[in-house]
Structure formats: structure tokens, C-alpha cells
């Protein structure tokens, strides 16, 4: 019997389709990743509304204030008191005036004497926040020279 001598061959897989797919995935994730909303706090359960639409032109001078409750994993409130979230710090709404005063100083230093008037306070408040606290926050802000406010809500798509 004669044996045919087989040549040892190294199979090189074609990488091109895989690289194509991986680049497509990277492009997808880069597009959907939102780096802008870094100031939004996930603990805040915003109300939703059909008319809530993102502004056509992005605001330049913005101070985001997140108001919400301490909630457990099931989403139930563990504390009836609403707080302003600043990282891990929880500030009662009525005590926020001192912080607003600092923000006023910073805005004036950065943008001039009218800087504080041009700055918009974006209020991201939990749907169950007592309205009186939002009004108190607006009043405290007015006392520190802020005039523009925006009430944030999730866009409801029907």
C-alpha cells in the first residue's frame, strides 16, 4: 500500500468579518453612550409628560439640582423627607440657600455680574416631592439672584 504524504497546513481564520462586526458594535456603543447627563441622579424618579421635550439649543450655563427620596431596592421610600442629592451628601431643601450663595459667587466670578441671571437652574425632582419644597427652592434661588428655571420630566411617548 502506498500512503499519500499529506502536507501539514495551518488554517488561518478570516478575521475581516469579525473585525467589521466589532467595529460596528463599538460605533453603536459610542453613539448611544450619553456622556452629557452626568449630573442626572438615578435616585430621582422623574414625573413623565408628553410635552416634556429636550430644549432645541443646549443651555450653556446650567445648575442641576436633584431632589428625591431615599428609596430601597424595591423603590419604596425609606425616609419621608425629600433631600437634594449632591453625590453622597443629602441636603434638606430648606438648607440649600448656603450652597446657592456659593454658586452665585462662582457664577459671578466666571461669567461676570450678570452671570447668575443667565444661569438656568434645572430642577430634577422626584414625582412625589411636595410641591411646596420646589417652590421653596425657587424662592431661595431667587433670593440669590437666579431667575431662570426649568422643570425636568421624562418624555412620555404614547
Amino acid at each position: 500500500m502506498r500512503y499519500k504524504q499529506q502536507q501539514s497546513t495551518v488554517l488561518e481564520p478570516d478575521m475581516t468579518p469579525m473585525i467589521d462586526v466589532v467595529f460596528q458594535l463599538i460605533a453603536f456603543f459610542m453613539l448611544v453612550t450619553n456622556f452629557e447627563q452626568t449630573q442626572a441622579d438615578e435616585r430621582v424618579k422623574l414625573p413623565s409628560d408628553q410635552l416634556a421635550r429636550p430644549p432645541e439649543v443646549a443651555r450653556e450655563k446650567v445648575l442641576v439640582v436633584n431632589i428625591g427620596f431615599n428609596r430601597n431596592r424595591e423603590g419604596e421610600k425609606t425616609d419621608p423627607q425629600a433631600y437634594i442629592f449632591e453625590g453622597d451628601e443629602l441636603i434638606p431643601v430648606l438648607d440649600f440657600g448656603r450652597r446657592l450663595k456659593e454658586e452665585q459667587r462662582v457664577a459671578n466670578a466666571l461669567y461676570g455680574p450678570d452671570g447668575v441671571k443667565e444661569m438656568t437652574i434645572e430642577i430634577r425632582a422626584d414625582a412625589e416631592t411636595p410641591t411646596g419644597l420646589i417652590q421653596e427652592l425657587i424662592k431661595l434661588s431667587q433670593e440669590n439672584g437666579f431667575e431662570k428655571f426649568s422643570l425636568r420630566a421624562k418624555q412620555l411617548v404614547k
Partner: protein, 166 residues
């Protein structure tokens, strides 16, 4: 003298794919881990310079359109009132409010449209979601034909807070 030419053999240079694939996978994993699916957020603008809160300035020819929102003890909606008329407290209360304000505003070429202002007067403990619903119902509607937002009132303000007694 005979010239000798060195014969250069054509060699195929293969690019090293392994490091690129490593980096690409690192990038992919980074984007996958940092991805947060955030619902689209919108907002309602409110201009409230100090001193204009709940004061009817004589310079303003048209008084604000007052919307009163009352709350139950637990913060749920007890009622919506528009010009002293109760519009109920069910899901349709804000639709009624929208219709009433639409009637008041009238045609979109109303010359006083830019001067109209809505004042939301809510109980202190009312849940904020109802205020958003009232602001939304007072300022415009979504066209059923085009799905576009039609805004008829741009100015919204709040009455002073109704602090609980004591």
C-alpha cells in the same frame, strides 16, 4: 565587469492583528460597561425674577391665568380649579384644563398671546407630578395629526408656597 544584481524577493508583510483586536475588544468592553440607558428628558421653562412672584404688577395689562391645585393629606390630587370652577380630580381633569385654556387663548394669532401667563397655585404637600401635569396642560398640547408640540403659553410662574400652619 559583470554587474550582479541582487534579486529582491517580493515578501508579503502581514500586519499583526492580535494587538489591534486586543485594543478593540477593550474598547468594546469599556463602552458596554459604561452604557446607561437613560430615558429622554425634557423640560418646562419658568422665568421667575425676584419680585414678580404672585404680585400683579400694574405694568402687566393682562392678569395671570390662575390654576389652583388642591391636595389630599397624602399628597394626591384633590382637585383642579380654573377660574373658581372645579374641573375634578380624575385623569381627565388636566384634559379639561387644557381645553379651558385652549378656549381662553382662542386663536393662535391672538395678539395678547405673548403676554399671557399662567400662575400655578398648589397646596404645599401636593405631589410634584400633578404640577408638571398642570404646567403641561396649561402651556400646550400634542397635535394628534403631526405629533408635534403646539405651545400657546410660554410664561409660567408659581404662586408663593402655601406653608402649612404651625
Amino acid at each position: 565587469m559583470g554587474q550582479r544584481r541582487s534579486r529582491v524577493s517580493a515578501t508579503k508583510i502581514e500586519a499583526q492583528m492580535a494587538p489591534m483586536i486586543d485594543v478593540v475588544f477593550q474598547l468594546l468592553i469599556f463602552f458596554m460597561l459604561t452604557l446607561k440607558i437613560i430615558p429622554i428628558e425634557g423640560d418646562f421653562n419658568i422665568n421667575m425674577p425676584l419680585g414678580k412672584q404672585a404680585t400683579e404688577s400694574p405694568d402687566v395689562p393682562i392678569p395671570p391665568i390662575k390654576v389652583r391645585l388642591t391636595a389630599n393629606a397624602d399628597g394626591t390630587l384633590a382637585g383642579v380649579q380654573f377660574r373658581q370652577v372645579s374641573l375634578g380630580n380624575d385623569n381627565l381633569a388636566f384634559d379639561r384644563l387644557n381645553a379651558e385654556i385652549g378656549k381662553l387663548v382662542g386663536r393662535r394669532d391672538n395678539p395678547y398671546l405673548d403676554e399671557l401667563e399662567v400662575e400655578i397655585d398648589a397646596d404645599y404637600n401636593l405631589h410634584y407630578r400633578h404640577v408638571i401635569a398642570a404646567v403641561s396642560a396649561s402651556t400646550g398640547y400634542v397635535s394628534p395629526q403631526t405629533g408635534q408640540v403646539i405651545r400657546y403659553i410660554e410664561k409660567v410662574k408659581f404662586a408663593p408656597p402655601r406653608r402649612p400652619a404651625g
